[in-house]
Symmetry: C2
Subunit: 206 residues, 2 copies
DNA sequence: AGAAAAATCTTGACACTGACAAAATAGGCA
DNA sequence: TGCCTATTTTGTCAGTGTCAAGATTTTTCT
């Protein structure tokens, strides 16, 4: 079966990578039409299959969107680490970079970000989605821990620090997506960076 | 025509306050079934009219939800002012109370809050909705202005202060609704108050 | 008052959606 | 080879939002 697995991607869809293709198509549909206006059928059509094909890979449209949200968290984690990598070794710079990455991801993937924190993804069991979300959270926690001590999450104060940091970046991200802070987000992202740095520092009173 | 306007609420087939009745029914539908699962037809049924009746009062389902969001902002404003009224005269206490009110409203009306900041309500023209949103924003701005000076919004620093405050409370509210901070929101709201106060103060480095 | 006009509500239709069942197709394995 | 299972298609169903047309009530005009 290791045959032409690199062929010119023709229509041999029967045994293919439909699951991946569906997720890719779904993300395009999502960013083009938003969460309202998203349609399972038109996602299937974009992937080149019939309207009932997705059922064998995702039991629901909700399951498909949760799969998308999971990948979103994975990419959010990657974006935060990417910013960290360009920030050097200073603990405070690493912390700021985490927040900048969080916000940059949201700005670059607004519809996906809204999906990740929307009603369809909320308070669920220990799914893959929850794990991916925890992984993103950990990036922030670790950055704060480098500033405040490794046993950060042992104390109420520590939880409060992490919560403050998360809430600040999340508030920025969500309000920016909603167009509520146009005086800020009208600028290019690089011009927002110093402002974000200031705001993120406030969360820990730095 | 001032006849039996107080009758036992029977089916007199024009019924005069359909717009209000639809908004009330829509809010119940929203909080019971969430934004997904919300249906114009079942809202109409709950209000006791046919499926096409709402069209004369709201051109769209979007228009209906925007009307609901507008009322949400009005009540958000009221909740913030309510908390302020119980906070006395101290400027810092007033500021904290604004944030507490913001978060309490979100906790008490999660689905409505998500609607107010969701995609359907975003970046629109100078509608009634936008005005109601600005009014809520002004409560926060005024509270910050009492701490930082009346010409707050003349300076970049001032905008940054307001943004920081808004982002912090908004982040709290949104993450709490999403069930992401269960260690906090598992408590009764009165037990959250001191934590909220701390977090809100951080935004202004108080 | 009575008739004309406007506003409101109902019925009916249309295209679209998500989900399900049954048939068709392809691949893996004996 | 031939069965078996996984995958995909076709067909169907109830439910949705919106539009058009008809029915009914309220308002306005003379």
């Amino acid at each position: 079966m290791t045959d032409r697995e690199e062929g010119a991607g023709q229509r041999r869809y029967h045994h293919g990578e439909l699951r991946e293709a569906l997720l890719a198509a779904a993300e395009m549909e999502l960013s083009e039409k938003g969460e309202d206006g998203f349609s399972l059928r038109s996602t299937a059509k974009r992937a080149g299959v019939s309207h009932a094909a997705p059922a064998h890979h995702f039991k629901d449209v909700t399951a498909l969107l949760q799969g998308l949200a999971q990948r979103g968290f994975e990419r959010l984690t990657a974006t935060m680490k990417e910013e960290q990598a360009e920030a050097g070794d200073d603990a405070e710079a690493l912390y700021v970079a985490s927040g900048v990455g969080y916000i940059r991801f949201a700005a670059e993937n607004p519809a996906l970000f809204q999906l990740m924190f929307g009603a369809r993804s909320s308070h669920d069991k220990p799914t893959e989605l929850a794990k991916a979300g925890d992984a993103s959270f950990s990036v922030l926690v670790n950055a704060v821990a480098r500033l405040r001590g490794a046993d950060l999450l042992k104390t109420e104060e520590g939880w409060r620090d992490v919560a403050a940091a998360w809430m600040m970046v999340h508030g920025y991200a969500h309000l920016a997506i909603g167009g509520k802070v146009g005086w800020l987000t009208g600028q290019s992202f690089d011009r927002q960076r110093p402002v974000i740095a200031d705001l993120v520092r406030r969360a820990l009173r730095l």
